[in-house]
Amino acid sequence: MADPDPGLEPRGREITLSVKLFAGLREQAGWGERMVTMVARPAATPQRLWQILQIAKDGVQPGVSLPAGPLPESVRVAVNQSFAEADHLLVDGDEVAYLPAISGG
């Protein structure tokens, strides 16, 4: 498979994502929406972004109280307002939402 980013430095380019949290997750984290920049290599996925949110230290430590470790099974992911898998490949400008257990109706 061809390198999608020929000529870029090995670290990979950065992409900026809009990240949203809802309900109990939002309250655990202490924020509901923010812009997050991550390096696109290795692959930028919601799973990897989740880990970045836990360790981000940009002055306010935005995600220190999110559940530690891999994305919990009870948390679903939406990319650009459609359900997506945790290994979905993210691109610059995507809106990524982490959805705790749904309870509608």
Partner: protein
């Protein structure tokens, strides 16, 4: 072609008024209809008196997801019209949370589509419930049994 109507209500709504309007606009000359109205219980999951139920949603995705679920379900069952109305915000005990109505040529598709769509939106439409009881809010992490 199926007539689909999806609406979120930020304030109290009367499901019977909604149904009456829908009967005039949507189902056309169909001979069967199935309706479901869900209301807020008087007690919390823990058995305490419930003051209110708060419904959070994901603006944009919730509406789109309801439309997708309704369209998919309508196609699977070959029904003529589907109506989904859902509350958001603070809902008081006894007030309607959800209305699902389906019109079809026969009772089987109408009833099956109504039940399947209700279950789908409980699990696959981004809504979150928080029970308020004794001045304390508790997020609900699952659905009540069928």
């Amino acid at each position: 072609m199926t007539f689909l109507q999806v609406r979120l209500h930020p304030a109290r709504f009367d499901p019977l008024t909604s149904l009456a309007a829908w009967e005039c606009q949507g189902p056309g000359s169909t001979s069967a209809a199935a309706h479901f109205i869900g209301r807020v219980r008087a007690s919390s999951a823990g058995g305490q008196p419930l003051e209110a139920l708060e419904l959070e949603h994901y603006p944009g995705m919730t509406e789109r997801q309801l439309e997708r679920l309704a369209a998919d379900c309508a196609e699977r069952h070959g029904v003529a019209a589907v109506l989904v109305e859902h509350r958001i915000g603070l809902v008081l005990p006894g007030d309607a949370i959800v209305l699902v109505a389906v019109a079809a040529d026969r009772r089987g598709p109408a009833q099956r589509c109504c039940q399947e769509l209700l279950e789908a939106l409980k699990h696959d439409a981004p809504f979150w419930k928080r029970e308020w009881s004794g001045g304390k809010g508790t997020w609900i992490t699952g659905n009540t049994p069928l």
